[in-house]
């Protein structure tokens, strides 16, 4: 809080000199975690005192917390002292110089996904200066956004430039001690995104393409904060259909959304981190806390996710429906193949009057994967006339996979209407036979059926993304049939 304005300004200038990709070769910290590491991270990011204090409080709380064991996932214990909490991204010198040096298998995948040519180099981690024209694209977007008054920047920049907003909203949806991984993230988060949409503004574009180009290296402890002020609207797209490779095995991100009166936030995720190989070796542990707070009346938060990557996914994007007439939505497709394990779902907490929530979850298990839906619908005593509809379907492909549902319903108001439906089935021999008979190959037939199964969720994605997501699903299930 005590940071001088001049100081902030100088910091701002300092960072902008380097653009978005900072050369932080020297920033790598040795493995291990203690208060000094937290201080070092904060210092390297030139954070004000309050931010450091906030991190330290989180760290001290984390020390007293235990790693959760309730999820339906199994993995060897994580040694938190073995991890480097400020690892530098690959320097340009280590990167491939052009697409010719990139693993042809990866390029083949891009092709299948229909990723635009000029994005491929960036996604494959080709050195920045080799990437076609990305800077100018970025600048165009930035101009357009600032015209509308939308603040969209990295989290570090937000701490420097908009400390009052960050301090007001940071941790107000996901408190530091919310859970083990959120506390860890709060202590050591590397960077992330910050969005503020002012009163009455409809964000002029999907904050998607921009992000896709911007976020080649999001770091393993990502922190996102989106605030939609009264009457505003924003659609935010996180992630990318292209396979993301990362050396960091543990990812613990936190996403906080705040929707004030009459505001709407649409948050779409496509998660395709490295899932490990066919034998279950390697892969990302993705422990994410995502929560949206419909703080004002008539606000709306909508989560859409397509989860195909990661060895382990532990993720429950949730909505706190505090404002009267607020709405929460959760649309999810989770695919687990080979040895992947997914435990994902949502929480809808109804607090205000006339709140409503919709949950549509589609889980697909193949290979030896385990896929679980875990959800909570809670209607508080004061939440009159709450409405929830939940549909949660699982599709099994193969004999060795598992599909599970763990829905919790806690209803404390007699005016609530809560409906929950779930089904589990496999692709029927009849469906397959019908398609085969009409000359469709088995793989195409399975893809078609699976895409049909997920249609309700894909419909919620921004259009171009929906097309990519369908292609992604097909790629993810490769080798699952036949």
């Amino acid at each position: 809080m005590s940071t001088e304005p001049e100081n902030i300004e100088s910091l701002v200038n300092q960072r902008y000199k380097h653009g978005f990709i900072t050369d932080i070769e020297t920033d790598a910290l040795p493995p291990g975690l203690d208060e000094d590491v937290v201080r070092a991270i904060s210092a390297r990011k030139n954070e004000p005192d309050w931010m450091l204090e906030w991190r330290l409080r989180a760290y001290r709380q984390w020390l007293a917390m235990r790693e959760p064991e309730w999820a339906h996932v199994h993995y060897p214990p994580i040694d938190y002292q073995e991890i480097s909490y400020f690892a530098a991204p690959k320097s340009d010198a280590d990167r491939p110089k052009s697409l010719d040096e990139v693993d042809p298998k990866l390029l083949e995948t891009y092709d299948k996904l229909g990723i635009p040519l000029h994005e491929r180099a960036r996604l494959a981690g080709v050195a920045v200066d080799a990437v076609f024209d990305s800077v100018s694209v970025t600048t165009t977007f930035k101009d357009k956004l600032s015209e509308a008054g939308v603040i969209f920047c990295s989290f570090s920049e937000a701490v420097e430039n908009h400390p009052e907003l960050v301090e007001k909203y940071l941790g107000s949806v996901v408190p530091q001690r919310d859970n083990f991984f959120a506390a860890l993230n709060s202590a050591v988060f590397s960077d992330g995104s910050f969005v503020y949409v002012p009163k009455g503004v409809r964000c002029p574009m999907e904050l998607s393409t921009y992000f896709r180009i911007n976020a080649a290296n999001t770091g393993q402890f990502e922190r996102t904060l989106i605030v939609a002020d009264e009457g505003s609207y924003v659609s935010y797209l996180e992630g990318c259909t292209a396979p993301m490779r990362d050396e960091n095995q543990l990812h613990a991100a936190v996403v906080e959304l705040v929707a004030l009166k009459d505001a709407e936030i649409k948050y779409s995720t496509v998660q395709n981190w490295y899932p490990g190989d066919e034998n279950g070796k390697g892969g990302i542990y993705n422990f994410v806390t995502k929560r949206g707070d419909c703080r004002g009346a008539n606000s709306k938060i909508s989560w859409t996710q397509v989860e195909t990557g990661s060895a382990i996914t532990w993720k429950y994007p949730s909505c706190i429906l505090r404002g009267d007439n607020s709405t929460g939505e959760f649309y999810s497709v989770a695919v687990a193949n080979n040895f992947q394990q997914a435990d994902t779902g949502t929480k809808m907490i109804h607090i205000g009057r006339n709140t409503s929530s919709t949950i549509v979850s589609k889980g697909i298990s193949a290979g030896k994967a385990q896929n679980a839906y875990r959800g909570l619908v809670k209607v508080m005593p004061q939440a009159h006339d709450a409405r929830n509809y939940t549909q949660c379907d699982s599709l099994l492909i193969g004999k060795e996979c598992g599909a599970h549902t763990f829905p919790y319903m806690e209803i404390k108001n007699p005016g609530a209407h809560v409906e929950h439906e779930a089904t589990t089935s496999k692709i029927s021999a009849n469906q397959l036979f019908y398609c085969r008979q009409r000359g469709i190959s088995e793989e195409d037939a399975v893809n078609m059926i699976v895409n049909g199964f997920c249609k309700e969720v894909f419909n919620e994605l921004p259009m171009e993304f929906a097309v990519e997501a369908q292609a992604l699903l097909n790629v993810s299930l490769e080798g699952a049939v036949g």
């Binding site: 919790y408 209803i411 404390k412 007699p414 809560v418 496999k426």
Partner: protein, 431 residues
Amino acid sequence: MRPDGLAALPKQALETAVSARSPLTPDLPRQAALARFLKRGFPSTRAEDWKYTDLSAAIDVTRDWLAAGAVSGIPDSLADDAAALTGNIDASWVVVGNGQIVGDLPAESGKDGIVVERLSRAAVEPSIEQPLADLNAALLTDGLHVRVPKGARPSRPLGILYLDQTDEDPLVSLQRAVIDVEAGAQIAVIEYHASKGRGGHYSNTQVELSVGDGGSIDYVRLQNRDRAHSQTQRLGVTLARDSAFRHFALDLGGALTRNDLTIDIAGPGAEARFDGLYIAGDGQHIDNHTRVDHRVGPARSAQEYRGILRGQCRAVWNGKAIVHEGADGTDAVQGNHNLLLSEGAEIDAKPELEIYADDVKCAHGTTVGQLDESALFYLRSRGIGPSDAQRILTHAFAASIVRELPIGRLSDAVNTLIDRRLGDSLAMESA
């Protein structure tokens, strides 16, 4: 909320009470059960399965009862009360009063082809290991062993009345039954729980049921305890090839009621159908946990529980179906529907599926809501008063599940109990 029930119990009194018990079968390992219980204590709300149910009330009674010497006499009036409860239900009745077998066992003579013995004389070893089952095994006075021999088809149901009475003193009743339905045998069993008296009361019942190849059992559990008393009950069922288990559970009374129904489908072709109705009013907490393990296929399980909640009360329903690897051809359906009729009522529902096989058909549906407004309006528009309209629709909601009652001759008795309970609850509303 007390996280650890063990700390609240006087260990020494517990040990003394256990040593004072006479040996049951040579096999019933009282001391081992006590040792296990002392290690784990009562389940706490930190355990996932007990998240919504706090056993404090039962723990308090147990502590007071142990402190008072852990004695359970049988009041003189008990026989008359038992006769009144069972009089209009045509069955061979065994009465267990305050945890002790009262009078003669009807089938010791081999009547109707079934054998009912005291557990202390039977050569069976109760097998469930759970904290509450351990407490039961440690302190049990005697239990029942029911054997339905191969191919036997007794014409009358077997009724077991668990009746507890305590005028002033705290009372803990420990009850246990082991029921073996042998291959091809068929039987109907009624398990009836009732209690009265002003003293604190906790009843702990453990039932183990196994059904042999091609055997079948219709099992109805009725619970209408005093609304200040507590009960925990566990029914564990093992089903062999082509066997059938049809179950209906009715919970009307009790301050704290927790029922665990676990079904193990161990043979292909087995079929389990289990339904339940719970009606909760002021001060009541009714928790039904069901779990079915499909270990082999093909097999079917279907359940539907319905709840009516009015007043300051809470009901919990947790249905779990686990389809194990290789249990292809499994068909599992779960349904749970609740009417929340007033402020202060809470339902916690959790239908769980864990599936490790792909050739399966599994589904669940859960709803929480109120009486249909247009149906209410329809009745009102035909000149039916608001409370009558409500009663008719509430009855209809209950009736759609009572219709599935597996023992047809019980339907009058069951409907009378439900009518009386709903009548009370509506009277409370208008008062």
